[in-house]
Symmetry: C2
Subunit: 262 residues, 2 copies
DNA sequence: CAACTTCATTGCGTATTGTGCAATGGCAGC
DNA sequence: GCTGCCATTGCACAATACGCAATGAAGTTG
């Protein structure tokens, strides 16, 4: 079912990665060139793809516009932006903002470290993050109401990415309890061996943790201990963002677990 | 032809604007609910839309990810980002970066003025800008090789948006000549009566103008003359970005018109 | 607590729609 | 000017997506 739509989606995907000639498009889909042409023409009329001068197709501005519209309507992004950028300047490391959106945690903002842009982190706005093998994921999990947390974890199949990955439910629960008590989380290369993070929770006006901010660095640049020295700044930033969202006390003590509310 | 793809595109659009119930989706397309359901399921499997808890559909993270991928591959965005943010801080106004992409000029970055976010500008990343009724549009046009400029303008039907809009070809040509000589452009409320801009060209390594940076303010906040006082800073920023792209002289004098090259 | 309403979901037969083929047109290179 | 390459279009056919109607789930009201 929905074969033509699937094909269109496939072409959108490919065109985002690199320019796509008509012949390539037809080959990729395994259809006749005329079919590929018609699909691309339809997508072009919606500005989802665009023809380059060379006759190849690339992702169009219509899609980018839609995506920005959706990102812009996320209440969190706008008030957080300035704080995240300040945090980046103060620490010098890459800063992420991740939000629980439906069943997945996705990056909704990212401030690159200007100094080390030779080393590209695999993160990208819009991409889903592992909920059990990332500092932001564990942070959000740690503060989620139990039922919600169980719902998210029930979908999960644990996979070992590196030596430090938490791969069983009980160990993860213990880690989450530690995080909840301490008020912030660490990613000690749990997804990519050389990527370190610290993350702190962000609360909405009801006190519910809905997002997390993190500072990321690769091992070559900073050790985990060096990153940890930035935790006070990170907590302050997270609290300021929570404050902007209407959470009452912009103080540094992370009590009030949000489990009781709703 | 390509009816089902059109329908899918329509649903993507709507879901980006506001959450869409299945019934609504079917009504909008004028099809049976079962049809709308199948389209949405297909889109959901590609993470182009996402089901909320309430059973409505919103734009999914898959699309946002693709869009960021495409934006990230634009060479201009990354090196320009820091300069644009610095310019925003120094001037206090909203800063835009627009690029000629195919036949249209689209915003590829935007730095909001944090102070006045009550007033939302209509601009948005990914959105196409009028090429004859905006400072960035006129700037890019002014420095384009003649044949390229003619090609772009041949598609255009002039429309009067405000009292100051240039609505005939000759008047626009005169304005472009002025801009080319002076090295920067002004938008005196030519698209929206209360929106003022100044813009400066950005060159790639071949000396070709491919983009423009602009400072925007609404009349309530700054007069056009006040904006103009920021022109030296703007020119400096644009030149720095050009320099990062490989354009040889980061000096302030905007000679060398790029018409002779290629 | 049962009957009713509302909404999502699925199986199925049919006709619309999208497909492949082959022919046409445009363009560049020899 | 001929030849090969690629995009594009008309057409006939069959696959595909459609609407219908029945089922199921979930919440509401008497």
């Amino acid at each position: 079912m929905a074969q033509s739509i699937r094909r269109a989606i496939d072409l959108i995907r490919r065109s985002a990665e690199h320019p796509l000639s008509l012949t390539e498009a037809a080959d990729v889909l395994g259809v006749h060139k005329s079919t590929a042409l018609r699909i691309l023409q339809t997508l072009e009329s919606a500005r989802f793809v665009r023809r380059t001068g060379a006759g190849t197709y690339v992702l169009g501005s219509g899609l980018i516009e839609l995506s920005e519209l959706a990102l812009g309507s996320m209440d969190l992004r706008q008030p957080a932006a300035a704080h995240l950028r300040a945090l980046q300047r103060e620490t010098g490391h890459t800063v992420h903002l991740a939000q629980l959106t439906g069943d997945e945690i996705i990056y909704i903002d990212k401030v690159d470290s200007p100094a080390f842009d030779a080393v590209k982190l695999p993160s990208r706005i819009g991409r889903a993050v592992s909920i059990y093998a990332s500092a932001v994921g564990k942070t959000i999990l740690a503060y989620l109401p139990r039922e919600e947390r169980d719902r998210l974890l029930s979908h999960v199949v644990f996979e070992r990415f590196t030596a430090t990955t938490f791969t069983d439910h009980d160990a993860l629960e213990a880690e989450l309890a530690r995080i909840h008590e301490r008020g912030w989380a660490v990613d000690n290369g749990e997804h990519d061996a050389y990527v370190m993070c610290v993350a702190a929770p962000i609360r909405d006006s009801r006190g519910q943790v809905i997002a997390a901010a993190s500072i990321t660095a690769i091992e070559v640049i900073a050790s985990l201990d060096q990153l940890k020295s930035n935790v006070p700044l990170l907590l302050e930033t997270a609290n300021q963002i929570s404050y902007e969202l209407g959470y009452p006390q912009p103080s540094a003590n992370p009590d009030g677990d949000g489990r009781s509310t709703t």
